[in-house]
Subunit: 492 residues, 2 copies
Amino acid sequence: MNYSETKNTTSLALLTDFYEITMAYGFWKHNMHEQNAVFNLFFRSNPFDGGFTIAAGLETAIDYLNKFHFCRADIDYLRSLKGNDSRPLFDEKFLEYLTTMEFDCDVEAIQEGTVVFPNEPLIRVKGPILQCQLIESALLNIINFQTLIATKSARINLAAKGEPVMEFGLRRAQGIDGSISATRAAFIGGCSGTSNVLAAYHLGIPALGTHAHSWVQAFEDEPAAFDAFAAALPTNTIFLVDTYNTPKGIDNAIEAAKKVEAQGYRIKGIRLDSGDLAYLSQLARKKLNEAGLQHMKIVASNDLDEYLISSLKQQEAAIDSWGIGTKLVTAFDQPALGGVYKLAAIETKTGEWLDRIKLSEQSIKVNIPGIQQVKRFYRNGVMAGDMIYDQRKDLSGPVKMIDPSDPTRTKILDKASLSCEDLLVPVLKKGKCVYQQEPILKLQQRTSQQLDLLDKSIKRFVNPHIYPVGIEETLYNRRLELIVKYKQDKQG
Amino acid sequence: MNYSETKNTTSLALLTDFYEITMAYGFWKHNMHEQNAVFNLFFRSNPFDGGFTIAAGLETAIDYLNKFHFCRADIDYLRSLKGNDSRPLFDEKFLEYLTTMEFDCDVEAIQEGTVVFPNEPLIRVKGPILQCQLIESALLNIINFQTLIATKSARINLAAKGEPVMEFGLRRAQGIDGSISATRAAFIGGCSGTSNVLAAYHLGIPALGTHAHSWVQAFEDEPAAFDAFAAALPTNTIFLVDTYNTPKGIDNAIEAAKKVEAQGYRIKGIRLDSGDLAYLSQLARKKLNEAGLQHMKIVASNDLDEYLISSLKQQEAAIDSWGIGTKLVTAFDQPALGGVYKLAAIETKTGEWLDRIKLSEQSIKVNIPGIQQVKRFYRNGVMAGDMIYDQRKDLSGPVKMIDPSDPTRTKILDKASLSCEDLLVPVLKKGKCVYQQEPILKLQQRTSQQLDLLDKSIKRFVNPHIYPVGIEETLYNRRLELIVKYKQDKQG
């Protein structure tokens, strides 16, 4: 199996859960396939017990949607599938329909790098229910993962307090574009560059790296290895000093650096990859300074994350930049975001929109119905609260929002006294892209600017303050009515 | 960015950590690039606090190696990289060398689906050090992830005790081929099929699925939704019964099933996706049986893993098959294997092989030197122990192996009284594939057969017995000597 090849023999239309296709078939059989529906992609809690989330993955999702179509190989495969009576599962006419179908949904989304919160639709899809359904799995795959990693990266970069964080995760990522997606999201979250050369090339971001222990092992001893590396790459040398013994490795790095610097080069630094990073970094800083090598930076790596970085900073570790692999690209302490994609409204054949919910034993898990938009309010330049509302609602004058998890918590927001903006922007109209994609550096800048607008109590790692997100009052009441109604009589 | 497209403009040679390329350049500058070396890919502990690991990813790795080459776009990119003096980092002659270089290493590996243990080389690469180095990151990326997921899948399938486990993880996987890799490894570990249609197509395995809550929500009420689904797909219907209220949903499913069965069809079953699965499955079984629908199966999903399945079985849940997503494809409780790739020997210009180690403050983390092979011994048809040895060692007669974590634990193994086999088999010779790739079903069968050969104390989830893996005595002693030697004098 070769992914890069096989992907050209089929489109990505089959990158979907099988039930999306059986449901599509069911809708087609009942002539409901072109009935319009609204689906929202959202998550129910911030990852890592944190106070915020960073939206990411939209550009990748748009690329997928722009190319959405079934090609011959896809259809041939679907034709080959059988039911439990060994006959073809799908009518030939349905397969024909898929072949000629053009994606023509309206898609709105929150821009990448935006701070987002639970229950807010990151993506809203409106269009023929068959199409909405077919794209569910791929959208979730793309948005769940990149949003998770961008959030982890933002947390790690917050912990590093502006010092460069390099993403070194290729070897622990999930496959080839698992790694490229992770690199992309890590960069949006604030990382300065990546060790993954293919990702650096495709994303147009810096490729970074030092050398491995194997370099040192390949030579008779460490001084010979360091001299050789600096001679080959005098303009790009960071010595890894822990192959045999770190303090001695630091001394050897200093000796090697002095020789090369005497020829007019500047050695970039050293890397610590094991042991007590607080103690060793302070020791290294002292030795480097005593040798007149104040400009040489100290890079640390070894299973770091936001908690370890914070702890090292508290211990006044003399670390200038951070290499983060496994804990970042796998989001080790919570490796899935858990985003979902739920039907919120459906249009009748007479053009009336009906709200829809799914019940749950936990009422917090009942989704929000309607055609939603999110309004963010700012007070004195700081984010003051987000309100999920139905875009058909007239919002002139003060509006009340209600916390869905505690209806006694309400907030009255007045557009006259607060500045505000809608977060969802048009991305595709009738299937055609209307969104100007942004350079990845712009997305990284947005993350940083957005985090600056967020109160620091919400950004802390332990017991963060909960940012207020409410449902506009009339929508809140509509949802309550639906819950009561479906509990009573909609089961038939 | 579009992965499927961009991958064709470059090869996968850039799917590597940047330091592999700077080291390659360093070796080339010092005319060491064609010096032969031996690298081993291994991990240091079984994932999930478990007693075993299932090797996977080899076929994907072989595909990568078979196509390994630098194309023009790769070289153009490398040419564009600058050092901190803003001049090109790499000599043009080095780039020429990469362009014409052909991969010609010898690769040996343990076959997919084999039970493996810490410190055993899953892959051994022998050849020019520059080439060994360039392939490190991609091999780790591929083998780490697939081995992790195959192991998780094997554990989940052990918990399910032969009942079908379906992999439903697309929406929580890391990108497109993150999901396909996960599906592949999950199947090797024992899953019966996947919801991921693209993966099913490429791997030639069953595509499986039911329907979503949105199907039910799209109709006026649940009975109408169930009738419509069964009418459209009478040969492939599993009703999801928890959109509004599970007990009522079971009743509605039974009514819908009766109608369709009256027309001569067989409904496959129902799916429970929330609530108390032990209680609800027993309730559903009772109701289905009372309705004469004994043949209808009960599928359960909702963040399941091996522990929850075991618990549900202990509670005598009436579940016939299991849909597993997030916890499987992310290996939620330990989302990285931590496999490494270490230099173990290097050939001098006069043809002598020198053993190499990397030291660590924890002596258990010091790698094993030499040109390794793994011999597995069987006693009465059950795996009795594995011995890592240097293939240059004559093993006629009884051999002693020593536990590297406790040298007082030794074992004498006699090939005369025990059957045994070498686990590493040739995969590439001088860069040419000599390995006959196997159908994926064969790999799944190997996993199952291998687990049957493993004592059940090693397969349990809590405090498993530790399977004996030792180092052959002369290799053990050689490693000890090297540790002492490098601690004393190899730092210069």
